[in-house]
Symmetry: C2
Subunit: 193 residues, 2 copies
């Protein structure tokens, strides 16, 4: 239970996470990760079977923190359900304006590994997005919305759309447009249920 010191493995995942997100998966070599982590390549290969294994660990480590952040933004927002959903997009726009922001690591990895459909990292990304969608569907269902699942899917489309569009145009105001669209769809679903 008492294990406060950061393990070698954690340090490697940390270094990999920063580099993969900043530069892209295939642009970063195993050498670069090992050097950034302050270990030799041989040590890295002691802790991970392959680079693919390391990529999977990178995304695994971002799963829960990302989900928690979205939930926090939703819960901290004032107003009705539509306003709380919109708050996620507004907060995301703020984050996206940071110069180091480079889109969604899960989506970028899926795009880069599109030629390897069954890759573990893609499965982790798909599961991550599904968790968020399921949480939203439950929130909508609790609010008494008909077809809460379909509305949750539409929110994911707007969310991931804003990641893609903002990365391309480098214009975070698209996230605020996505938030407005999301709020309009939630209000439309609330009215008819």
């Amino acid at each position: 239970m008492a294990k406060p010191e950061r393990t070698t493995r954690e340090g490697i995942v940390d270094a990999a996470s920063k580099l993969f997100y900043a530069e892209g998966i295939r642009a970063v070599s195993v050498d670069a990760v090992a050097e950034a982590a302050g270990v030799t390549k041989r040590t890295l290969y002691y802790h991970f079977d392959s680079k693919d294994d390391l990529i999977a660990a990178y995304l695994e480590g971002r799963d829960q923190p990302n989900l928690s952040l979205f939930r926090k933004w939703f819960e901290a927002a004032d107003g009705d359900l539509a306003a709380k959903v919109e708050a996620i997009f507004v907060n995301l726009a703020r984050v996206a304006r940071h110069p180091k922001w480079k889109g969604c690591g899960f989506l970028r990895t899926a795009a880069e590994l599109a030629n390897m459909p069954g890759h573990p990292a893609i499965r982790i990304g798909a599961a991550h997005k599904k968790k968020f969608e399921t949480w939203l569907a439950q929130v909508f269902c609790d609010a008494g919305i008909d077809d809460a699942g379909e509305l949750a899917r539409q929110m994911l489309l707007l969310l991931d759309g804003s990641f893609a569009v903002v990365l391309l145009h480098r214009d975070a105001s698209y996230m605020e447009s996505a938030g407005k669209a999301a709020a309009a769809l939630v209000r439309g679903a609330t009215a008819t249920s």
Copy 2:
């Protein structure tokens, strides 16, 4: 005017286009493109300054054909404005179910080159998406919709969101959900204008 035979350069761009889309930019070597085009690497470097130059040519060649296709789907559809917009998503879902479909080449390239913000290929991708957005905004404006620009932005968010989500989950039904959301937003904007 009379130039029916395919030039060497066109053959190289063709081969690059197929490989880059199928495998990803960084996963494909210049050697592989040259071999697929049936020329030597030296010939390739006679026609293109660098691999980056070749990447730009790949996306440049997809710009107009893609735009034409979207416009064709819109114009061929029956029904009101919302139905015609939704038709784009329905047609896209059909295409996305083809096993060789691997998302949007423009978005995947932007994701892969996220660490090179000013890359020519990213500029081409951004311009491509902007052209589509501008065309949609004009269509909405002609239909008498208030804030046609904002609605067009929302359509782009849903479109690019569906590219990203369907690539991740390999479930083209998300495109039909995006189409429903798009139609609902168009109807909402039509009603209030």
